[in-house]
């Protein structure tokens, strides 16, 4: 451990630490553009300058390694003047088109200019004109006027994805970022460039011009698109009065968790949700009666399902219920499925029906396409695709969670098997064509819209909170299961408590040691 003094306060840090990180440890945030904790220091932006006693000039804190007894001053007139000078040079070439810039509101150049009181410019000449809309990837646009050449994007592609699509071209005032030989950035992680860019030089066509960042609230959630369980922020608009449909999710951003995903997420996770929210959403429950679709209120829909189940229970045939769960459900929901249908109904036909695994990569993406395969396994679900024959034979009520069964069987096969079942109910957030075979469809919430927890492939139980509900008429599977248990009058002293994700999670921890150890 080496002891040094930052702004008079003694700090002890391990050998080899940079002044920047030592200051961070001491609770002093230094302004910076080019430095990023995931990369080696670059030292191009010259903004993290500090005064070090004994040094004739100001030093870069991001690349200066500490020495024993070093005295660092991070705030002084000389430091302030230097940083102000750096910012003024950056702003001299910056277009100041904040009103139409997607980064405005979370832009570091904006923040620092305000912090250092740069309201007027000594630069009276015309600004340099550069390309304002260069497509550098499928969803990425580069604005060369806004670029401050911090090279974070170049270093991300060189150090993290190792695909080297972007490079720095020319020198001096003509320096610019560009793609090599017209090959666009396409590596499955390209969306991270948008978060990395400290200004609005790289913007995302998915988010471009949709809203302004300050309208958005954020919820801490977990990405549901593979077993990795990357930590994410769901940025959503809470909605405006009298504007229907204004509450919705606008973007997904990575939430740094060194143990799971670091500061990155893949493009599937980033763009998957926003697309899923808009396309093919099932937004309210309906019942197919005599071939016609009848939209129902939740009370009616739940009453119909409740009546059918109660009829079975009363006739002593409760085990004739078959349930196909999916590991898209949270731990809590899978637990309730197991409790209600296996333990209380005594049904042996509880299966797991997941989408087919896809391709993974050697970074974050996993081959499994569901967020909670590990959780389902720990709860005793068999991950193998179900046998249709065994699921359908003698079944009177079938409850399907998610439409993934259609991936495993041909439509004719499925129709033949399901025809014999009296009541078929699909609980799904998305309509994919399977609903035509069903008697009833209950519209459920997507993972970003509900509370719960997922267990990632390493066995990490990660709770998350709900963001906006773009479709007000959907309910989470947990709410559906709890309401079902309530309307069937199953052990009210037990299920009566289990109406929130937190309560079920507590019960889960109590009953299953795997979750108890991770609560």
């Amino acid at each position: 451990m080496i002891k040094l003094f930052i702004d008079g306060a003694a700090v002890e840090v391990p050998e080899g630490t940079t002044v920047f990180k030592a200051a961070e440890q001491a609770g002093i945030a230094l302004p910076h553009f080019c430095f990023h904790p995931a990369f080696a220091p670059e030292g191009t932006c010259r903004l993290c300058l500090v005064q070090i006693e004994g040094s004739p000039k100001l030093e870069l804190s991001c690349s200066t390694v500490i020495r024993e007894g070093m005295k660092v001053v991070t705030q002084s007139p000389a430091v302030g003047e230097a940083r102000r000078g750096v910012l003024e040079f950056l702003l001299a070439e910056h277009p100041l088109d904040c009103p139409i810039c997607d980064k405005a509101g979370e832009c570091k150049l904006q923040d620092y200019s305000r912090d250092y009181g740069l309201t007027e410019s000594a630069f009276r000449e015309f600004k340099e004109k550069r390309d304002k809309k260069v497509a550098i990837g499928e969803k990425l646009l580069l604005d060369r006027e806004r670029c401050i050449q911090c090279t974070r994007c170049v270093r991300f592609l060189a150090e993290v994805t190792k695909t080297h699509e972007l490079g720095v071209f020319e020198r001096g005032v003509r320096t610019e970022i560009g793609i090599l030989d017209g090959v666009p950035v396409q590596n499955g992680y390209s969306g991270n460039l948008v978060d990395l860019c400290p200004v609005g030089a790289i913007t995302d066509t998915d988010f471009r011009f949709k809203t302004r960042p300050w309208f958005l609230s954020r919820a801490e959630s977990v990405c549901p698109h593979c077993g990795r369980g990357c930590n994410i922020y769901v940025d959503y608009h809470p909605g405006l009065p009298r504007v229907p449909g204004s509450a919705k999710v606008f973007r997904i951003r990575p939430r740094t968790n060194e143990a799971v995903n670091g500061p990155w997420i893949c493009d599937v996770g980033r763009y998957g949700y926003v697309r899923a929210q808009n396309a093919g959403r099932s937004d309210r429950p309906f019942w197919n009666k005599d071939g016609a679709k009848t939209e129902l209120g939740w009370d009616t829909a739940m009453a119909i399902l409740g009546d059918k189940l109660r009829a079975l229970v009363d006739a002593g045939r409760a085990d004739r219920v078959a349930v196909a769960a999916t590991s898209w459900l949270t731990n809590e929901e899978l637990f309730l499925v197991k409790k209600i249908f296996r333990d209380d109904f005594g049904s042996g036909r509880i299966v797991l029906c997941d989408p087919r695994p896809g391709e993974g990569d050697d970074f974050l993406r996993r081959p499994d396409r569901t967020p909670n395969a590990r959780g389902a396994r720990e709860l005793g679900f068999d991950p193998a695709p179900p046998a249709l024959e065994a699921l359908a034979r003698g079944t009177e009520v079938l409850i399907l969670f998610g439409p993934h069964i259609a991936e495993h069987f041909r439509p004719a096969e499925l129709r033949a098997a399901l025809d014999g079942i009296a009541v078929k109910v699909l609980v799904t957030p998305h309509l994919t064509g399977l609903e035509g075979l069903m008697d009833g469809v209950l519209a459920s919430a997507t993972p970003a819209e509900k509370d719960g927890s997922f267990t990632n492939f390493e066995g990490r139980v990660q709770p998350f909170a709900a963001a906006a509900r773009p479709c007000p008429d959907v309910r989470s599977e947990l709410e559906i299961l709890a309401a079902l248990a309530g309307s069937l009058g199953l052990r009210p002293d037990y299920y009566g408590r289990l109406t929130t994700a937190a309560a079920v999670r507590r019960e889960l921890a109590k009953e299953i040691p795997f979750f108890g150890a991770r609560a």
């Binding site: 088109d97 904040c98 139409i100 390309d131 304002k132 302004r212 300050w214 309208f215 405006l240 504007v243």
Partner: protein, 157 residues
């Protein structure tokens, strides 16, 4: 009885105020008749709506959106007006413009005048001087709420 006297007293007071205003106005109008300038002009009743009172230059009336020289809206859909609006009555949807110098234009710009409180913050917030409240239109009564929701077509007129 005492209460009745109180009412009567208040009536007299009210009558006195009316009389005072009448006499003051009469005094000023009479002086003006003889071309003697006074500080106050004396109150005038306008035959509204046939005759309209002239509005002060800075009077905040119905909004309008300004246009560029080529007739396109000056608004760049930065949504600062929607941000500052205390009654949350402005809703803007942005669209991409082919001109890289403009880039962002409003696809829709809606002011819900049912909610608007005419504070004029939107005019102050606008970085492009694209919205103004200087049309002088103050007769905004409509027969339905929907008629008071103004879109781009009405605001650009």
């Amino acid at each position: 009885m005492l209460k009745a006297i109180g009412y009567f007293w208040e009536l007299l007071k009210g009558g006195w105020i009316t009389t005072r205003h009448f006499m003051t106005n009469m005094f000023h109008h009479t002086l003006r008749l003889f071309h003697i300038k006074t500080k106050r002009p004396g109150a005038v009743t306008y035959q509204y709506p046939e005759v309209k009172k002239p509005l002060a230059a800075r009077h905040r009336s119905l909004h309008r959106l300004m246009t560029r020289e080529d007739g396109k809206p000056r608004c760049v859909a930065c949504m600062l007006c929607a941000t500052v609006c205390p009654s949350e009555c402005i809703v803007i949807e942005a669209a991409e413009d082919a001109d890289p110098e403009i880039q962002k234009v409003p696809k829709s710009f809606t002011i819900d005048l049912n909610r608007c409180c005419f504070c004029g913050f939107c005019v102050e917030a606008c970085p492009e001087d694209a919205i103004r409240m200087d049309t002088g239109v103050i007769d905004l009564a409509r027969r339905s709420h929907d008629d008071l929701i103004f879109g781009l077509d009405k605001l650009l007129k």
